[in-house]
Symmetry: C2
Subunit: 212 residues, 2 copies
DNA sequence: GTGAAAGTTGAACCGACTTTCAACTTGCGA
DNA sequence: TCGCAAGTTGAAAGTCGGTTCAACTTTCAC
């Protein structure tokens, strides 16, 4: 699963030439990364401070600069961490799906549950749009590409209408992703409503449309 | 139109007890508000500065504090301004609609055009999630309520399936709004693609769904 | 056990921004 | 026209947080 990737990410998490070389260093880097996630999640990027992060981590201020060049760089590292977390949480939802549209329904339900349990993560990824636009873009572009690939595969299996071209399904992937994000914001982050119910209604619409 | 509302907003735009009392003051407040919109749109909230705003406005630093208590307060004023701008741009799109779903298609196309022409506005509203959460929430809640009301009216006219309850249409309003926002981000802000084409595909899906 | 490399520390420095304010200018009402 | 309230000015004080660095401690390969 994510094992290999995680290790690579842990090494590349720190700024260039700042990777830890001993077990102690690795432990400290991990503490800072976790502290940063909490700090950013609770206070938002601009109200977060390096002092705040290092205090939570229980290390001295200067230690931060052993691993990172700036606040922006930790934020970026945290976003990439979180992005992988969302992906890995949603991935297993597809295994019992009866068809492509049912798969998307399960994915949405799983995402809504994740959003409810990790409001801070949700907030961090969203805030990346303004702090680290490239990480934000990367997160949503890979997500959209993954959705589009599933839709195209579904169409080729005859589960989704053959009227939609590849390019059209790519557009619709963005629409579905946006819908999911806003449903998460409204029905998981702002208020905890029944994930299954929200996913079911959305899926019904996705399957047959709105028309009478 | 927005005339009445705009006047009210211009007065309430400044902080409490800081409304301008002369024509000159009103002009200066307007200059600061416009400058703030440009500054926030170009640099984002945290990279924006009061100095930057007053320089763009061509007034002295201290003048800012004649009308506003802080950077957060101007930001809030700007967001409310922009929110009204989006609404007023999209509103006329409905007048030639053939049915409820066609109305939403026209609204989306109009929104996509707006997003392309006002990338800065788009950015400002999105950033409000982190700077002034209540203004952000207000913007999207009123927008969702407006969409839901149109869907319910459409259902009651027999244009939208009677299978959907009021509560379900309210959920779907959030889904549609999220879809619109992400389509705007991807196909208008990041890359200028044909608004009509994007709106048509989305509308087709909305009408009949994805299923083969 | 030893020494060099890695890691840690926090006071001090630095720059950038917000906010204040007393002197000054403008413009409106009488 | 005059006087005063409203508005404007920008230097300077105050604040805050990022970043540096030289002294110190720990780790680990040999």
């Amino acid at each position: 699963m994510g094992g290999r990737v995680d290790q690579e990410e842990q090494i590349s998490a720190a700024s260039d030439g700042k990777a830890p070389r001993t077990a102690r260093g690795e432990r400290t880097l991990r503490k800072i990364l976790d502290a940063a996630r909490n700090e950013f999640g609770e206070r938002g990027f601009s109200d977060s401070s390096i002092v705040g992060i290092t205090q939570r981590a229980g290390v001295a201020l200067g230690t931060f600069y052993t691993y990172f060049d700036s606040k922006e760089v930790v934020f970026q590292a945290v976003v990439r961490d979180m992005s992988a977390l969302v992906r890995d949480h949603v991935a297993p939802a597809f295994k019992d799906a009866t068809d492509a549209i049912d798969g998307e329904r399960r994915a949405l339900e799983s995402f809504l549950q994740f959003a409810r349990e990790h409001r801070d993560v949700y907030r961090i990824i969203d805030e990346a749009e303004f702090v680290d636009a490239s990480a934000y873009r990367e997160h949503y572009e890979t997500t959209a590409t993954r959705i589009a690939a599933r839709l195209i595969a579904g169409r080729d299996k005859g589960e989704i209408s053959a009227d939609y071209s590849d390019a059209e399904l790519e557009m619709l992937a963005w629409a579905m992703m946006g819908a999911n994000v806003f449903l998460g914001l409204r029905f998981s982050v702002w208020a905890s409503e029944d994930s299954k119910c929200v996913a079911d209604v959305t899926s019904r619409m996705l399957r047959s449309g709105l028309q009478a």
